[in-house]
Symmetry: C2
Subunit: 114 residues, 2 copies
DNA sequence: GCTATACTTAGCCAAATGGAACAGTATCCA
DNA sequence: TGGATACTGTTCCATTTGGCTAAGTATAGC
């Protein structure tokens, strides 16, 4: 149930940048190449790549290079980590831990598969 | 439904530090003074205060000074903001937006008041 | 009034972040 | 083979972060 705190550091830090949230948002609709992802942003590619790397290191995306194209896809585990943290907090301020398990399980069923 | 993106920057950034997550966790159990909050941390007070200020600016806590004691309490709005973002993402990858409203409403009912 | 308490303000520092430019490398296609 | 495409590696830069110390202010209590 508990997350390794250092992991959460990265998970949340990744979301603190609008470019990265946008990337996660875009990948929610399906995988895409770095080039595709970069197009909407007025930013040099190397700068953009830093965000891609950070997202990969923090676990939000996974990437695979085939030929000269690197394809990116979303990872769902971090969402669960964030949800777990949220529900732990709610459990605290509601003063009862029994709802914790309930809430997480329900949330993950909505998010369904992996 | 949409959040102002700059607000989300701060909301997530605040959570990317373990000290700040711990403070939020502690305040989930009820209000506390800066001194009380700082006790568990092996950190100079001015350093600790920076975290308090950042949490206040990002909206996670509200503080009030009475006499020489500043008391801190949790704010619940940012939780809703995070939950909204999460559910928007889920809605995306589930390919249907109709569940979005549902999920948020359900989640907020669990978090109840405020 | 004096002293201890509870922050505050100010300034310093090393490391990390988020951007840039420029020059590679590795494929793909004609 | 030769050029265009899609990254990648390297280096640079200003700003932000997260910590520190030292000194200051404002109550609270005796």
């Amino acid at each position: 149930m508990e997350q390794y705190p250092e992991q959460l550091d990265g998970v949340f830090h990744a979301l603190s940048d609008p470019t990265r949230r946008a990337i996660v948002g875009r990948l929610g609709k399906g995988p895409a190449s770095v080039g595709e992802l970069a197009k909407p942003f007025d930013m040099a590619l190397p700068s953009f790549m830093k965000h891609i790397h950070l997202l990969e290191e923090s676990g939000w995306i996974r990437t695979r290079k085939q030929g000269r194209v690197r394809t990116c896809a979303i990872e769902k585990k971090p969402f669960a980590a964030v949800e777990t943290w949220l529900s732990e907090q709610r459990a605290l301020w509601e003063g009862r831990t029994d709802r914790l398990e309930q809430f997480v399980t329900a949330a993950q069923k909505k998010g369904k598969s992996r």
